[in-house]
Point group: C2
Chain length 157, copies 2
DNA sequence: CCCATAAAGTTAACGTGTTAAATAAATGCG
DNA sequence: CGCATTTATTTAACACGTTAACTTTATGGG
């Protein structure tokens, strides 16, 4: 009743790359959310804090790129994080179009307080799915992103 | 300046499973969005229509599960899709708590009109990343979802 | 030096993600 | 049968995703 005849017009949604990536991400996030709730930040706020902890002071564009968050979302997130005191934002003296964000001591403390819980979650995932298998999956995801990122339908010409 | 000493508290964000799944999904969606824009539906609306095309009439809970969309979002999406005439929604006679959604002819026509474009996009992805490699990645994503889905921090007791 | 153009962020508008609470219908038990 | 408890869905509130338009600052050519 759903298919015209004996030919599948689309691959089943169970085998669709976008949906499977979404499902896998959901499964992982399900393990992580309890920790995030505990410290009172959203998943995206956590990514921003993590990137700043990893890279130090960054301009908004680079931060957006590394945290995989779009500009408009990041503007709102930075506003919130600044209001609660986890980050500082200042203007770049040399190029006054740029904003530079950095972690405050309070932000660094927050991240440190979640380190053990975070490690435990990922240790559990490695234990259940396999450390090597997880690493291999990460490599494949990175490869897929690289391959598709080089040229797209909007980059054709 | 970012790390306390010589020990990495967190794995680099470049190797974080949640972030890599997000990046990979973004890379794939970047190829698909032009088609969705053309037919005037969002990514989530498209998933709902695809699932209904694949499975026929479904109750809201099952539809949410298969389209990987949460209940509250689906309520809004179904309202929109009904208003533009792509789906019908009715009450289940046997269990009046349930709503049943199904594709209208207009909805089926919309999907059919995008079939060729959709196939072309996925053919391109298979060509660039490899058909076998893509299949293998899908299997790993499914496996990860299964492994993590069986028990979680909220299912421990 | 002046202006057109580009670049970096922000604002705006609308749709979705996420959690908690509310509504409504079905179920089970005394 | 009557009511407390579940189940299915919706509503509400706030945060983020996405695209387009806008503001401000840099840059380059005349």
């Amino acid at each position: 009743m759903s298919e015209d005849a004996d030919r599948q017009t689309f691959s089943p949604t169970r085998k669709s790359l976008p949906i499977m990536l979404l499902r896998a991400r959901e499964a992982v996030m399900f393990r992580i959310r309890p920790m995030l709730r505990q410290i009172g930040v959203t998943e995206q706020q956590w990514r921003v804090l993590r990137v700043l902890e990893e890279s130090g002071e960054l301009d908004v564009s680079t931060l957006a790129e590394r945290a995989a968050i779009l500009g408009p979302s990041l503007t709102r997130i930075l506003k919130t994080l600044r209001e609660v005191g986890y980050i500082d934002v200042r203007r770049d003296r040399d190029d006054r179009r740029r904003s530079l964000a950095s972690l405050t001591p309070a932000g660094a403390t927050l991240i440190a307080s979640a380190a053990d819980d975070s490690a435990a979650v990922f240790a559990a995932i490695h234990a259940e799915f396999g450390t090597e298998r997880t690493q291999a999956l990460l490599r494949e995801l990175d490869a897929l992103t690289e391959v598709l990122g080089e040229s797209g339908p909007d980059t054709a010409d």
